[in-house]
């Protein structure tokens, strides 16, 4: 494994770390996008662990900070935030291409990172695949039934709610939030259909931490209909995990899944192997 830190981008405003495998087969490179406001190492260092795992398997990687997040500055360009995100990821693809020779890319994004991965995958033909973790999806009738019914009937949930109410000494202060308005479901569906038609491989991973809007693997079909049948789509529901994979065992399961998915859809093809 070899890692190198870079300042890059049109205005040299972006900061990232490229990880290269011992042998590069110029297949695809994997780029990690910020999960919300967490800087490039990812929640609990998820991106570092995953990047190194992929490097060991033969994939070049880049984990970087989008404009104004983590160590990256502002670009100075007059772009909307969604336009800036796409421009930043394009700069990232250019850097990874220069460093590894790869010309196609897989994006990895959790939460707002999934939204940003979606926007870039739709906009740029060099994106060959994407991991969308707790990305697009919307509440359905089935989701509401599955979410509320057990809670109404669960004694422990009521007990915990009562305990929390008693323990709450003071209201929690407002927490800093960074929210990008999600696209309407109809547009998401149309854009996904376009990506799949172009041959992209898309992995939708949902965690138990977003049960407020997604709580069963079947729900993907409720949200996106026939797209669920496309061979380019895979859907996974890690019910036991939380949104940021805080427990090491859950994180390892995710790492294992990503490694296998990459091997299935973008196998390393070194001469002689």
């Amino acid at each position: 494994m070899h890692e190198q830190a870079f300042r890059f981008g049109g205005a040299r405003h972006l900061v990232g770390v490229v990880g290269l495998p011992a042998l590069i087969d110029q297949g695809v490179g994997v780029i990690f996008l910020n999960a919300g406001m967490v800087y490039r190492v990812g929640p609990f260092r998820l991106h570092v662990e995953l990047a190194r795992r992929l490097n060991a398997l033969g994939y070049p990687t880049l984990r970087f900070d989008l404009s104004t997040i983590g160590d990256s500055g502002a670009s100075g360009q007059r772009l909307s935030r969604p336009e800036q995100v796409v421009a930043d990821v394009r700069d990232a693809m250019e850097l990874l291409k220069q460093q590894s020779g790869c010309t196609r890319f897989v994006l990895f994004g959790l939460c707002s990172g999934a939204q940003n991965a979606h926007s870039t995958a739709f906009a740029d033909a060099r994106v060959a695949g994407a991991f969308f973790l707790d990305g697009y999806g919307h509440r359905t009738l089935g989701q509401r039934v599955r979410h509320y019914l057990p809670r109404l009937l669960s004694l422990s949930v009521w007990r915990q709610r009562l305990m929390r109410r008693r323990a709450a000494a003071a209201p929690r202060p407002a927490e800093p939030a960074f929210v990008v308005e999600p696209l309407p479901p109809k547009i998401v569906r149309a854009q996904l259909a376009d990506m799949l038609q172009r041959g992209l491989k898309l992995d939708f991973i949902y965690s138990g931490g977003v049960a407020r809007y997604f709580n069963h693997i079947r729900q993907f079909r409720e949200c996106f209909g026939r797209l669920a049948d496309d061979p380019g789509v895979s859907v996974n529901y890690f019910k036991q995990a939380d949104h940021t994979y805080v427990l090491s065992g859950d994180r390892q399961q995710l790492l294992e899944h990503v490694a296998q998915w990459m091997g299935r859809h973008f196998p390393i093809t070194r001469p002689g192997t």
Binding site: R172, V246, L247
Partner: protein
């Protein structure tokens, strides 16, 4: 401003280029400042704050080096490889790197939580001329208890998980990270010793158990209006941002320079 940010350099350094660093050059010839990060999830929560502090200090004429210990952040090593002896050695390596880039002269340090302990403990070997400590750990055993308690609370937290997992063995983890028996033992024995150099003490408005200062330091300590809520599992993903803290840290470092 733009030119200054462009001059800031991310790089790897130290033996085997295992440590990640971020150098913020400054035009002035004042003392240089080494920023020693806290450990684990606290390091990620403080990342933005450290960056802001580095910018503020560089603007005031202090060259600054931020860095990650082995097994943390962008540095080499798995998370469970972080341990105290190596951590102190990394402070020395980073101070040497800063001196080399700065061209010699006085080196001060700022550290939060265990970062403060690391700077204080390595001060002599790293030839530091002063340390500003924020919420320094005064009772290592209390910190170990706090991390253990947070980890046990996490796995049954229905605000985080769809269902509780009380049976899960999480004894080798502290919030968000794998840890090791070695680090556990090292932290159990951690006490705050007289650093023997210039030092300033900052404390959050409501200090947690591991960072309560005893009477030796309480009189010298400055309370800062910041509530990092180190011990709360609801805060694990919340960045800590505080202008009062940045102002206090800069003021003390300027006084020491």
């Amino acid at each position: 401003m733009k030119a200054r940010i462009e001059a800031e350099l991310p790089f790897y350094f130290g033996p085997g280029r295992e440590l990640f660093g971020f150098y913020h050059p400054a035009a002035g010839m004042r003392a240089a400042v080494l920023l020693c990060p806290p450990f684990g999830v606290e390091q990620i929560r403080c990342h933005r704050l450290y960056r802001q502090l580095a910018h503020g200090l560089a603007e005031a004429g202090f060259p600054v080096l931020r860095f990650d210990y082995f097994g943390t952040g962008d540095s080499a090593g798995e998370s469970n490889a972080f341990e105290w002896t190596r951590c102190l050695a990394d402070v020395v390596t980073a101070a040497t790197e800063l001196r080399m880039r700065h061209g010699g002269g006085r080196v001060l340090a700022f550290g939060a939580r265990l970062g403060a302990n690391a700077a204080l403990a390595a001060a002599q070997a790293a030839r530091l001329d002063g340390v500003v400590a924020w919420d320094v750990i005064t009772d290592g055993a209390a910190l170990v208890r706090q991390y253990d308690h947070m980890q046990e609370t996490l796995k049954v937290d229905l605000n985080r998980f769809e269902y509780a997992r009380p049976e899960l063995d999480v004894s080798t983890q502290w919030p968000g990270f794998e840890t090791s028996d070695r680090l556990r033992v090292q932290l159990q024995d951690l006490r705050l010793l007289d650093p023997g150099i210039a030092s300033a003490w900052l404390a959050s408005s409501v200090p947690d158990e591991p960072s309560k200062l005893d009477e030796r330091y309480a009189g010298k300590c400055e309370r800062v209006d910041v509530s990092p809520r180190w011990e709360e599992v609801d805060s694990l993903e919340l960045a800590i941002l505080s202008h009062p803290l940045l102002d206090a840290a800069k003021r003390h470092l300027k006084e020491m320079a």
